[in-house]
Symmetry: C3
Subunit: 317 residues, 3 copies
């Protein structure tokens, strides 16, 4: 595997899951792979889990790691070609990317949707420029439309906790005060569609995701009905995808908050969320602190998904 930006890059998911459990059982068993290899992690946006878990995964593999926070201690970057650069941006991505590629063997990039131009976001303009110009393997640490390291960790977690071969998994929209990308929801749907789980998406009218990601999922506008018999509730906020509301918050209805009364409709479902989560907006204190909440083991699996991805990239060098 050279680049990792979506589920297809990983190939057969059963093989990938097997590899994940091997890595989890023996994190330091592949330390020679990363010897004298350097990872550069580039953040255009904030990060806690991704920053720590990816770095940990790289160190497990014996790699050196450098972290670059764009706009904190580095130069501001221009991303448009043809611009007369007489403003506040000091460097162009077209130089910065190949330069970064000079000093490392693998590049991880985090760059969220900007909500300035839907086509730019959905064409994954930033990460694709890294793939095109860096000369190095590139993996997504959350791009404009997908967060595949998260989705892979989600899949690992569901496999660890599922009680039936084909669990019912429900992705539910939940309210949030600010405009968030669709990346986690898109990506989760993309990965669930690659499994044979019973997969349902529920959200208010106007929050329809890109059909490319919805795929074969059932969409249910009645959250309670969606929750019935569910084995996993995966909560997430996202802003509107559909024009003319792209990137807008059109609803903050707290009746969509995941609470104990709604969880009682499920088949004693596990509660999942990618974190960070806003308590008492997305989910009540009661539910997230309940024994059915598996948000922490889910986060812990971020180290494993990152390590499988880095391991495969290192093996391909």
């Amino acid at each position: 595997m050279r680049h990792f930006t979506n589920v297809k890059d990983l190939g057969d998911l059963n093989i990938a899951l097997k590899e994940a459990f091997e890595v989890k059982a023996n994190r330091f068993g592949y330390k020679e792979l990363g010897k004298n290899k350097t990872l550069i992690m580039i953040f255009f946006n904030s990060s806690l889990r991704t920053r720590l878990s990816t770095q940990k995964a790289a160190m497990n593999l014996g790699m050196n790691v450098m972290v670059l926070d764009i706009n904190q201690g580095a130069w501001k970057l221009e991303t448009e070609r043809g611009v007369v650069m007489d403003g506040d941006k000091t460097e162009h991505l077209l130089e910065a990317i190949p330069v970064i590629g000079c000093y490392c063997d693998v590049i991880g990039v985090r760059s969220f949707a900007r909500f300035e131009n839907k086509a730019d976001d959905y064409e994954e303009k930033i990460i694709n420029q890294f793939i095109q110009y860096s000369g190095r393997p590139v993996f997504s640490m959350e791009a404009a439309t997908r967060h595949p390291l998260q989705s892979f960790a989600d899949l690992i977690t569901i496999e660890e906790y599922k009680k039936t071969a084909r669990p019912k998994v429900v992705l539910t929209w939940a309210p949030h005060p600010k405009s968030l990308p669709q990346a986690v929801a898109n990506s989760f749907a993309e990965w669930m569609n690659e499994t044979d789980y019973d997969f349902v998406i529920t959200h208010p009218e106007g929050y329809e995701l890109d059909p490319k990601f919805v795929g074969k999922a059932r969409v249910e506008y009645d959250q309670r009905k969606a929750f019935e018999g569910a084995d996993f509730i995966y909560a997430k906020n996202w802003s509107a995808y559909t024009d003319p509301n792209y990137g807008k918050v059109i609803n903050t209805d707290r009746s969509w908050t995941v609470d104990a009364e709604k969880m009682a409709l499920t088949n004693n479902a596990y509660f999942m969320h990618c974190l960070p989560v806003r308590r008492n907006m997305i989910v009540t204190d009661e539910v997230i602190e309940s024994p059915q909440s598996i948000v922490i083991p889910e986060a812990a699996n971020r180290e494993i998904s990152a390590q499988v991805v880095l391991k495969r990239i290192l093996e391909s060098l």
Copy 2:
């Protein structure tokens, strides 16, 4: 030793000092201890010495280190339970702490007094949540009421420089334009009270420290009288502890600045300060540049105190 937040965690100080001198003589002699072990250092506040010395100590022990500056490249954290998180804080400590614990073996935390709520500060709400929820050994890199890595380094330094078995050690308040925590002063007093040194605290009226930390120390309001015959002058500013002035600057009287004329009252005392120090407020250029100033060797011992603490934590894993 699992956690390290105060002098009691270290047990017998003579044994700890012996270990410190062993480590100082052989910094790289324990490198196998930290193999495949990861330290995460979390800073809610700025740091220079603590950042560098603790990281150096961990690397001496062969550990991997990740540094997380909260509010710089990470999410803003909510610390109160029950809040509807619809403001600027994106994540709750109750998720962030156990997540951080997933990716490491040891956690160091710096979190100063906030002066919003005296009880919260003096109950050490932040670091205690890390101890309670992280599932990992936690050590203080300066908490709301204590700075034990500093105090341990101070003790090592006094032991290295003392000329008599029972030196006279004076902690003197000195002026400063801004409101500073009592942590360094509290902690220094706590540690000195565990020795048999002749320990005196001097400060203006209104700057009384928490009696829990003052302990058996003699308090002297006349700075000159306190300095008489002293072997070590330990200068530090702190804001008021006593209500209703908690956290306030009630005095910036520069007659309390440590200068050469006052140092002449001592028994040719060494001058100490934890740094950073504001020159010509806390101490004159002349005194801090004099041969009796041992602020640099004192700072150098921060690497040693951190290494002893990390070594003991690693040994207990």
Copy 3:
């Protein structure tokens, strides 16, 4: 070699170049040199290439690296002696420098010209204080008047690409909206003057560099004439050096932008720039994207110049 701030520190350039090519062919061949050695990189200013390439070079040599961004997570530093520190600066360089020296074996410093006081800048007040007070070998990661790691990388690059023994190398001023230091231009001139290349400097009236750096170079005010027959065009903006305009932008004439029409006057010259570069101010998209542009291999050689410097410092410890 103990310190590295200018071309003279490197001694014979032919020997240094030979060492550079050896290091480039065998980056991990000197890994034992840096074992248990720690580099602290201190940034008073932003950095991308220097940050990554120097860290990479140190890791190639097996060193541990700590990065300190002053004013980001550390304290603000006072640089003047005798000040009553009652403002926003928390620590004095006179303490910070020897303290930093306690926790490492080698120090790299980036500190640009501040344009507050020409004498302070041209006496290299900041980096010289590090040399004087740190007790450690110090190297420049760009100081007020020179950027020797860049110039060394430039020299390596010219040696790799030159087609004649004595190429014509032209340093050309180009327009920029903000006030930039003279460091890169000074330093490039200083290094070129140590070679037997045919070296020409071209700039508008009023942009004369310090004669100390111009040395034996030919100065040509007609940019087109300067470009004739050139083998290498090295573009860079700098602000005025000459009083009373020190540090000022006195010209943003875009007729000085390097474009294809001017490049056609040369002997099919290579285009060089230290980066970051403002496109369509300094150079057109067309020229920087042309096959003659060698800005990326030039940047890649920053790892090599840093590794030679660190290797020599480590050998001298």
